[in-house]
């Protein structure tokens, strides 16, 4: 077991290092980051601009060889220093840490909605196969897959904020602010969970142990809840976790639509402002979160299922 854990940890670390390296060199290939950080206001003379540019290059260490820069980057990163935001002049880490809780709340609520709406939908569809309920569930899950989330967000704002005036259009403040963004973010998840739980339930219901459970005279509720559902729960968790990269991508879009002050919105703004240290750190954050989540999932599986450890 410990050999498996160590191997898996090393793999995850390797992936994180590769992500950082990839983005680091991508930025350097793309041009001169110092030129983006210079203040180009009209009242400044070319000499002033040039001086600031040279100063910035030196402060960022851009005048050295790229491999030295790379080594220096790791040195600083080890101390938690990922550079300063061009726009706000504060450490990029501060900006991220400020906004991270908002994104986590949003993501957690979306995951909750995804499971609490998707699971019953899929189970009901499987139990009423071929009926109108099944058709409704299928339609909902197809819609969840084909709809562009940014458009859905706009429509929800029109319906619930503009027409009915029930929920706020954007921003934060009360619990009512989070409803529309979370619902928008959850649509893909609802669709996926519903589809997986439907097919998982159909497969479980055809198994011998279900027939045995019924033959024992267990109530239908026990058969479904304790036997069929429990055996399908692992695959549902797998699906929720493995949709994480896609969910994170959607977070950016949804946060922009609802002006939600999270890390995704921060990244979109940083891109628009060419605030590259923030973009860089955001990508590293998203990558690390994904890698760690997959790592935890794999380790959990290894605990549950001994066969995986020995592969």
């Amino acid at each position: 077991m410990s050999a498996f854990v160590i191997r898996r940890l090393l793999q995850a670390a390797l992936v994180v290092v590769s992500v950082v390296t990839l983005v680091f060199f991508l930025i350097r290939v793309s041009g001169d980051p110092a030129s983006l950080g210079v203040n180009l206001d009209d009242f400044r003379s070319p000499e002033q601009i040039k001086a600031e540019y040279e100063d910035l290059r030196q402060r960022m260490g851009l005048d050295r060889h790229i491999l030295i820069q790379y080594a220096q980057f790791w040195q600083r990163a080890a101390r938690g220093n990922f550079g300063y935001s061009f726009r706000y002049g504060v450490p990029a880490t501060d900006l991220i840490i400020d906004r991270l809780p908002n994104s986590l709340r949003l993501g957690a609520l979306a995951a909750l909605i995804g499971i609490t709406a998707g699971l019953p939908l899929g189970v009901l569809a499987a139990l009423n196969r071929g009926t109108i309920i099944d058709n409704i569930a299928t339609t909902v899950s197809v819609f969840g897959i084909v709809v562009p989330q940014f458009w859905l967000g706009i429509m929800l704002i029109i319906i619930f904020s503009v027409q009915f005036g029930i929920l706020p259009t954007s921003g934060t403040g009360s619990w009512r602010h989070i409803i529309l963004p979370a619902v928008t973010l959850s649509t893909g998840l609802v669709a996926t969970v519903a589809r997986i739980s439907r097919s998982g339930m159909l497969e479980a219901l055809s198994q011998d142990y279900i027939r045995t459970a019924r033959a024992k005279g267990l109530s239908e509720r026990l058969v479904i809840g304790r036997h069929a559902l429990r055996n399908g729960s692992i695959s549902i968790i797998t699906v929720v976790v493995s949709s994480l990269p896609h969910l994170i991508g959607t977070v950016v879009v949804v946060e922009v639509v609802f002006a939600w002050p999270g890390v995704g919105n921060l990244m979109a703004q940083a891109v628009a402002n060419r605030d590259y240290p923030v973009v860089f750190l955001d990508v590293i954050l998203f990558g690390t979160v994904t890698v760690l989540t997959f790592l935890v999932m794999d380790l959990m599986y290894a605990v549950i299922d001994p066969r995986i450890r020995h592969r």
Binding site: S30, P148, V162, G249, V253, V256, M267, D282
Partner: protein
């Protein structure tokens, strides 16, 4: 004897299915046919959009901004699907815009498919260090959320049609590579491959003449299914202002542009979005159908 009877039975079943008539066949394959029809319609729009379009898609008509769709306001000179904030005909813009959206998606999937298949073939066939390195790169790429990576790459390297296609294509090689690698690993040791090798066929010949044709079917299905994903990603990027900037917008750009006017004119936003959803629906239905037709073993597996 019994085996022969079985053969006869199956043959008679097949004849019965053929006799069942074209309508029954169509009903069985109805979803696939809907998907195919949708895709055909959009391909026709992409090819002939400028000639089919009832109006000039960029012609500005400031007398009729926000004109309603024709069934809500059947006055003359108003587009079938209404007009946008500058009085441009929405139907014409969707028809002409389909070319950009489909070209991007088609080229990107093609790039992803070709590079993914090539790398998957090599890693699966060779194994060893090459396999390790390429698959670790694949792991790294999947660790970064695709849209986030794309946003960063476009922000740093710039957008534009060609860049967009290349980035979206390079972003989707991993799925194809993993798929074909798995196929190759199982086919590599089959008898006919061993036989070809024994007859003196070289690596390239074995890979392309023997392994590839036998592992390509799931790739075609995956290509069809990933087409919709690329359309959605491109639309999301356009929405964030990172799409291809051109006079004739893509559907994602149309939805993004309509955002400021949604409270006065819902139709600016709804119709391009419907176009996006229909294409994505079409490719998904087509992909599911292709999978069932090409490989009955996988029937109903996805999801």
């Amino acid at each position: 004897m019994s085996e022969l009877a079985g053969t006869f039975d199956r043959a008679s079943e097949r004849r019965a299915a053929q006799r069942a008539g074209i309508w029954r066949q169509l009903w069985i394959h109805r979803l696939g046919i809907i998907g195919t029809t949708l895709m055909l319609a959009f391909v026709i729009a992409a090819l002939f959009g400028p000639w089919i379009a009832p109006h000039d898609p960029v012609a500005i008509d400031l007398d009729n901004p926000y004109a309603q769709p024709v069934w809500l306001d059947p006055a003359d000179g108003r587009g079938i699907l209404g007009k946008d904030n500058l009085g441009r005909d929405i139907l014409s813009r969707i028809l002409v815009g389909s070319r950009n959206s489909l070209i991007i998606a088609f080229s990107a999937v093609l790039i992803g498919m070709v590079s993914g298949v090539a790398l998957g073939l090599i890693t699966g066939y060779r194994g060893g260090l090459v396999d390790d390195v390429i698959m670790r790169i694949a792991d790294t790429q999947t660790a970064i959320p695709f849209l986030v990576l794309l946003i960063a790459v476009i922000a740093f390297l710039g957008g534009g049609l060609v860049n967009m296609i290349v980035f979206l294509g390079v972003g989707s090689w991993v799925g194809f590579a993993r798929l074909i690698r798995g196929e190759v690993l199982s086919i590599r040791e089959r008898d006919y491959v061993q036989a070809a090798r024994a007859l003196g066929a070289g690596d390239v010949r074995v890979m392309f003449n023997h392994i590839l044709p036998n592992s390509i079917q799931p790739v075609i299905v995956a290509a069809s299914l990933s087409f919709g994903g690329v359309i959605l990603t491109e639309a999301a990027l356009s929405f964030l202002g990172l799409g291809v900037g051109s006079i004739v917008p893509t559907w994602g750009k149309m939805v993004a542009d309509s955002r400021d006017y949604v409270t006065v004119a819902w139709h600016l936003s709804v119709f391009p979005a419907v176009a996006i959803m229909l294409v994505v629906l079409g490719t998904n239905l087509l992909g599911d159908w292709l999978r069932d037709v090409l490989d009955p073993r996988l029937k109903g597996r996805r999801g």
